[in-house]
Subunit: 104 residues, 2 copies
């Protein structure tokens, strides 16, 4: 059954600059975004980056990024696929991602 745990994501039109800036103001969250810049990743990969952090903490980081609309988090088999919402962000706040992360 393809009805796995779908998490809520804000629509492109309802992205808020304040929430996005807040999400990106944390170094660990920026680091995660930087990873996703190269392409979608399985959450497992990102979890593995800093093994010291408990998974609930990492999950929380992702939640803030997801709820602000920075990343997408969708079920993928028994783990989750994380995607940077570059298009949505670029559409609503042109240049923001590059300005924050530096040019690729």
């Amino acid at each position: 059954m393809p009805a796995a745990t779908e998490l809520p994501h804000p629509e492109r039109a309802s992205l808020e600059i304040g929430a996005v800036l807040f999400a990106l103001s944390d170094p660990e969250r920026r680091e995660l975004v930087r990873e996703l810049r190269e392409g979608p990743q399985d959450a497992a990969n990102c979890m593995a980056i800093d093994p010291a952090l408990p998974k609930s903490t990492k999950s929380h980081l992702m939640k803030v990024l997801r709820e602000s609309g920075v990343i997408r988090n969708e079920p993928n088999g028994r783990n989750r696929r994380l995607t940077l919402r570059s298009d949505d962000l670029e559409s609503r706040f042109p240049g923001l991602l590059d300005a924050v992360l530096g040019p690729r």
Copy 2:
């Protein structure tokens, strides 16, 4: 005596993207920045914008913006001159201000 109350400001080189993003994540602080985009203002003007807020609260908003390096706050007669540090911000984080506030 020109030795009035000089507040500490971070150097251009030590501006941190995290602190800047955090400062800009608040709507009231963004509003203040938007005002200063048109040019320097006396703090009194900015204080007058929303008369409901007590001055200590407004002072706190300015403090966060100042400590993150977004604005400069220097004594000017018996009040204070607020300046957006556009050049410093543009130098360290090119395009950020426009991406956050939208093009002028």
